[in-house]
């Protein structure tokens, strides 16, 4: 089959690889009909996530048709149309039992690498480095889905792929980011990053009753989508207004947002001149893995006693973390890879109820063969690119 494989920093290729096989009794094989490039794939592409090897198949947002199941999968059968959540979770361990699917204790065969770096291992993730399990990803014609009796969501309604595909990652991720904010009537929420996760965080914050949502980005087309499609009330274009913290204070009568969502992660594109240059140099030299400017700003901007919700991806260590502001303002930090499994059905219900149509983020649809072009277009934000969907 054809698959998108990593071929060195800033390079992916579509190559012929062996077809996926059942390796465990609870596996399913899914023939992929739609798969998307995620912002977090760019961290892999840019070479900032350790333990990525040449030849690794990328992709953790995918859906398709079941073609084969292992001997212990009874809930699915060939022909079923499914969306696959990006975290791989066994459903049987203590973490899964308490709904923390992204902390599954069994799904990462390379848990030891992650334990060395982080103390404990998160779950395995499709196509997301060997530290996260070494699973082949879904930017391919087919994929093996472990624990298929736990993860995949069967789609029986007449939705298009684009309407349900984003249940695999970005919609639940944005939703969880908003849910973390513990939104009460009158709350003002600020969202750093108006990419796909940011868009869904904005839309979810509105769904959960936020009074006002402020979107922060430097790309006009992204801010426009935030207001026109996701429902943001106000925007800050930090290309024009770099003093984001001050701007937020002005917009909130000096209080600061009640909760701040970081939907940017480790490769922030802006920051105060000197500090940003410092981050860039250290990251390029691989001395630090992150450029955490969005997180720093979120902590500085948040009102005392407020919540900072981090949905952007971080991989290693950060410098100049404003611990003083964080502690003395009494902030709460909530974060994590999304426990997608627990949001699948409730969010499908919201789509069904017409509360949201996630397909609005799709700007580019390409053939799987065009994946290298898709990565470049998305990375360079050419042609107002928001989300690339690949069709095998």
């Amino acid at each position: 089959m054809k698959a998108t494989v990593f071929s060195g920093r800033n390079s992916v290729q579509v190559e012929n690889v062996p077809d996926p096989k059942i390796l465990n009794k609870r596996d399913a094989i899914v023939k992929i009909t739609s798969t998307a490039i995620c912002g977090s794939d760019l961290h892999l592409y840019d070479g900032y996530i350790p333990t990525v090897k040449r030849g690794d198949i990328f992709g953790h947002e995918f859906m398709g048709e079941v073609t084969d199941v292992g001997s212990e999968v009874s809930n699915l059968k060939p022909g079923d149309r499914v969306v696959v959540p990006f975290p791989i979770a066994c459903g049987n361990c203590n973490a899964c039992a308490s709904g923390l699917f992204a902390a599954c204790e069994n799904s990462n065969p390379n848990a030891k690498i992650a334990e060395k770096l982080m103390g404990h291992s998160p779950c395995g993730i499709f196509g997301y480095s060997h530290m996260m399990g070494g699973y082949a990803g879904g930017q391919a014609e087919a994929a093996r889905v472990p624990f298929a009796d736990v993860g995949p969501l069967k789609i029986e309604d007449d939705f298009t792929d684009e309407q349900v595909l984003f249940l695999s990652d970005v919609f639940p991720t944005g939703y969880m980011g908003a849910e973390f904010c513990d939104i009460k009537p009158g709350d003002v929420i600020a969202v750093w990053g108006a990419g796909p996760v940011g868009q869904f965080a904005i839309a979810s914050a509105k769904m959960l009753g936020a009074e006002r949502v402020i979107a922060i980005d430097e790309y006009d087309y992204r801010l426009r989508m935030a207001t026109e499609k996701a429902g943001a009330d106000e925007v800050i274009d930090f290309g024009i207004r770099p003093d984001v913290v001050e701007a937020l204070n002005e917009m909130t009568g000096g209080r600061g947002p009640d909760a701040c969502i970081d939907a940017v992660g480790m490769e922030a594109t802006h920051g105060h001149g000197g500090l940003h240059a410092y981050d860039r140099v250290k990251q390029a030299a691989r001395i630090q893995t992150e450029r955490p400017e969005a997180l720093r700003q979120a902590i500085l901007a948040c009102r005392p006693g407020g919540i900072v919700s981090v949905m952007g991806v971080y991989g290693g260590f950060v410098d100049k973390f404003p611990a003083g502001a964080f502690v003395n303002k009494g902030l709460t930090l909530k974060t994590g890879q999304c426990h997608v499994h627990r949001y699948l059905k409730p969010l499908l219900d919201r789509i069904r109820g017409g509360e949201i149509d996630p397909s609005f983020i799709t700007t580019h649809t390409m053939s799987l063969d065009d994946a290298p072009n898709g990565y470049e277009t998305f990375k360079k934000k050419r042609d107002d690119c928001m989300k690339v969907v690949l069709k095998p």
């Binding site: 698959a3 494989v5 690889v17 062996p18 077809d19 996926p20 096989k21 390796l23 465990n24 009794k25 609870r26 090897k53 040449r54 030849g55 690794d56 198949i57 001997s71 212990e72 999968v73 009874s74 809930n75 066994c90 459903g91 049987n92 361990c93 203590n94 039992a97 204790e105 069994n106 799904s107 065969p109 390379n110 848990a111 030891k112 690498i113 395995g124 196509g127 060997h130 399990g133 070494g134 699973y135 082949a136 990803g137 093996r144 472990p146 624990f147 009796d149 736990v150």
Partner: protein, 337 residues
Amino acid sequence: MSTPTVNGAGPATGEGVKPDRLGTALGWASVGLGAPLSIAPEATLEAIGIEPDARSRAIALGVGVQEYTAAAGILAIERPRPVFSLWSRVVGDLAHLGLLTAAWRTQRQSAPRLAGAIAFVAGCAVIDTFAAVRFSREPERQQAPADIHVRASITVRAPRERVYSYWQDFGNFPEFMLHLESVETTGERRSHWKAKGPAGKSVEWDAETTEERPNELIAWRSLEGADVENSGSVRFVDAPGGRGTEIHLELRARTPGGRAGQLAARLFGEEPDSQARDDLRRFKQVMETGEVVRSDGTVEGQSTARLLKQRPAQPPEEEVRDASADRAGTGAEGSQS
């Protein structure tokens, strides 16, 4: 979660590692000195303030070769107790001091640099003498047996009775302990163990169960005549908050010098603590999910050895035989959807 300890068998061996480290450092220092002398004798001579000519170049080359010889002796031939090589280094240092002093009179190019070189060699002589004396005086430090002592623990979401009954049958061990081939019960409290040894050979021994407290503890010990004297115990404790069972595993092996010691080291892997922790993780997977979990990059499930040479995260070429499916009694909880 696992605490490896490599303990000395007696108080004398407590710091047994140190002289070896010093020896290794001196061996590499010899390489560091030999390289410039043999590769660029002229530049080196100038650097230490000696006028290069045919004679001094030849001496420099000779000293370079001598340094390499010392390095080979310390790092390879005489390892781990390079008594002779270290004393020969002391003799060499004195000879070098003589040569440098002679050069001071006849071929001095820069007094400060040459003085520096003399001071450096004198310093080396002091360190070499110290190391040589230490190795000569306490040979037992290097040869005394050390124990491998591994502790690892994990929590499994299953009742204590179920976990205990799985461990009670030693025949289940190879399912999750990678280095074991088979364990057979041979009689009341007796079992026969077969492990993968070096070069494809098996290592076998008999063991007895020394303690069995239902749902609490199992302990075993190899019997007289085992190539590798070893013992193990596993404790079962209720995890707080109804989270199943905590398993605390403890393994010990004697590693005397010679063949048996090497064998023990192989059996327990280069990182015994990691191997034990891997074993427990595999056990947890078997108990909670029904089998050992595989990914495309790690088709045989987790193993320390595999971490270093992962295959790319692509489907394997070959059909992978489901090894755990062949074994009965995995006690899988089955699926939950």
